[in-house]
Symmetry: C2
Subunit: 463 residues, 2 copies
């Protein structure tokens, strides 16, 4: 039997290795084209105790900032997106939200000044694991400190400070950006006029964590990653692991019913005998999605940002714990920790005893328990108390929450949870929209595709 | 940062390599303990043209076959299960359906003679890729021919022939076994008295194919697999790839709401800083699931059987095409193909042009289209014509179809499809049960866990 999918990978490895050994220069940097850069030369304390001696934030902007700087909208991105949400004069390539931004568009450049950043931890111009650590002169790699959604938002607000923008007209984001959009309001209540959160959540749930876990694991199992323990910048990038991770991610971004319509059970070539390499059309689609991406994004950025998504929880307990930890660590801003101190801090957290099923998890126990308790799907009206306390700062912030019924990664109950929690907090300006399967079968990716269903709601909400 | 999850894998690789080089004997065979073996010494033609010169089927049985051999129930397994569904005298280890089989149990050994096999292609005693090819004296590896669900069923019926069992009281199966249970009836209408199909389907849908595709890809990307192109039997087994594949599979076997209850957002050790290796409890659960399994099952069996599941479609067109292909290939039974002929037959099926999104797949087009068409989830009452024709042989076979609302791998609409199709065919003895989320949050795994919800229905149906 032949294995063209493996032959392709071998061929790419061979080419990348040959190219690398013939080059004397550094690793070519990931880029999405020309952008502006905000540079902060002050040390930056992260939520889990890491410190960046300085950092850059790549950004792009569209529209015009008005005289009193009151019309700025901060647009938060999904996991792997760059600041290039829309074409610019210096980079005419269409952006990832090209049709959503412009004169008369949902983010209307005739009215608003739209700013989009590459997140801290990313690889498209902002400081992340592939950046040079100014203290060592080498790429951070896995010596980059663990970071959080809130750290990314804090870096964005440093940038806004630099721009003299005190208050945002709105904080807008989808997917991971939908998390950050909420976090921005919670952290800076007086600086965020209104919030749009599309296909996001107020806390990551275990199924999403599981899906991201498998992506991280396949990536870290690529020998190019595992043999260097993530310090691959002077050798081969883990392109095979990135391709696999992207294929798994793509499964979570779309939905079964859409694929049923689009691919059904079509094989790529029904006249040939079946193969273990991609064979059905859905497989060649996934393979292609992985191929397109595997050298376009930094593997460590994926690991760190995906981890930050897992850690996201706007509940009061975690907010309080984080605040306390930051107070304990604030001294690090004066005395930057050494590399050794940073490394020794990140220790093993796997328990000695593996998790075992307990009796309480038997089906009969669960069936009877289900009758007496509130499952997350069955009780959208009863938000958890910890989250109600955590979102209390948003009581007076008009908020649009939008979800998609066919989304399996950020399922619609999570957006219902946000809306219900905000209402419980006393917020009387909550707009909650759920796009049913009659409107979109595109699952999580709907926010990239549905100009009217998603964009139309945003336009009406922003006014 | 430390990476205990990778250190563990390195350590296992080291141990396996050391063990292997100190042993002079052959690869230890996979086993689930003592079982019976049916041996067929006649060549066996497979649906896609492959020929096995001979084959074994491992089986176990419980209860007593009555005098006229009319009380036999054939139990079909899930993908990776052995014939050990229940403990036996010679193997007292609990089986995978221990509580479902026995005196007074859903499969009542006071009444019935229950037979369970390891499927053709498996590694627990039946002939599969890890078996020795009698023609070469070497393990088949990836020279094993592509096989189908129907091939597995055909091998089972050869075994029944050998036992002198002409007609089954019932064909019963869950998951992959739920597919085979239906196929057995379609292929042998007069030999199957009734059918139980739990959490199965009549044709694989693209989302399931996608999830299995990612498992195959991560497995084939393990260097132990890719560098040997699947002929790893005299070297290191691809344990890391198997562990990854099992973790992805586990995500599809369970459900988000169950995990929400069980694990929530608990970290394995909240006092330690976050890690890129497993950190949340859900991650250590998945890690453990992979660990337990990675050396218990043959990687190539997983590839071939998972592929056979993708190929499953009881529609009339595929049945007709298969019948024609078998007629064309029947001569191979007299003249067994050489290894070279087998290898040359399995050629590349990946198209030169990668799949590209088309305009028709834009959200607006889909939204308007959705209003006019029937999505698989919204039209349970309108089964596809091809499937109606394909299931026509089951018009007079009493059938129990059971689905679970929280199942994401074989979603409930697929069991609704089976039931609706059978009714359309004119079958007046269709029992369709759907366990809602109030009954089970265990997703696809419900069939292994819910003795009352699943077993109770089976008991009532079998009488």
């Amino acid at each position: 039997m032949s294995f063209p999918c493996l032959d392709n990978l071998d061929e790419r490895t061979r080419k990348l290795t040959a190219r690398r050994s013939s080059e004397s220069g550094p690793e070519p940097s990931y880029t999405s084209g020309k952008h502006e850069t905000f540079h902060s030369s002050h040390p930056f304390l992260l939520d889990w105790g890491g410190v960046l001696p300085s950092f850059d934030i790549a950004y792009e902007a569209w529209g015009r900032l008005n005289a009193d700087k009151s019309n700025a909208i901060l647009l938060h991105t999904g996991l792997s997106a760059s600041s290039h949400a829309h074409s610019t004069e210096s980079n005419p390539k269409p952006g990832w939200w090209e049709r959503f931004i412009g004169p008369g568009a949902p983010l209307d450049t005739d009215k608003y000044y739209i700013i989009c950043t590459n997140v801290l931890g990313g690889c498209y111009g902002s400081t992340g694991p592939s950046s040079i650590n100014p203290l060592s002169g080498q790429p951070y790699g896995t010596s980059f400190p663990i970071l959080t959604m809130e750290d990314m938002v804090r870096a964005q607000f440093r940038m806004l400070d630099g721009m003299g923008i005190n208050k945002l007209y709105a904080s807008v984001g989808s997917s991971m950006g939908g998390m950050q959009s909420l976090a921005a309001g919670v952290m800076n209540t007086d600086r965020v006029g209104r919030i749009v959160s599309v296909s996001g959540c107020a806390r990551s749930h275990p199924y999403s964590i599981a899906m991201r876990h498998t992506q991280r694991q396949v990536l870290m199992n690529d020998p190019a990653w595992s043999e260097t323990r993530g310090n691959y910048y002077s050798s081969l990038p883990p392109h095979a692991g990135m391709k696999l991770a992207r294929q798994i991610a793509t499964v979570t971004y779309r939905s079964g019913p859409e694929w049923e319509k689009r691919f059904g059970r079509q094989r790529a070539d029904g006249s040939k005998p079946p193969a273990l390499c991609p064979d059905f059309l859905i497989e060649t689609y996934l393979d292609h999605a992985g191929e397109k991406w595997c050298l376009e994004y930094d593997a460590n950025s994926l690991l760190y940002i995906s981890k930050a998504m897992d850690l996201f929880d706007l509940g009061k307990q975690l907010q309080d714990a984080t605040r306390q930890r930051r107070q304990e660590n604030v001294g690090k801003l004066q005395h930057l920790p050494t590399q050794e101190e940073v490394s020794s801090q990140c220790t093993l957290t796997v328990p000695d005893q593996p998790y075992e099923e307990t009796d309480a998890s038997s089906a009969d126990a669960m069936a009877s328990e289900a009758e007496n308790s509130n499952s997350p799907t069955s009780s959208p009206g009863v938000p958890p108390e910890d989250l109600v306390k955590g979102l209390a700062p948003l009581r007076d912030t008009p908020t649009l929450v939008l979800g998609v019924a066919s989304d399996i990664l950020f399922p619609a109950w999570q957006q219902r949870e946000i809306a219900a929690t905000l209402r419980k907090v006393g917020n009387r300006s909550v707009t909650h929209v759920e796009l049913g399967e009659d409107r979109s079968l595109f699952g999580h990716d709907t926010f990239l595709l549905d100009l009217e269903g998603v964009g139309g709601e945003i336009k009406r909400f922003l006014g």
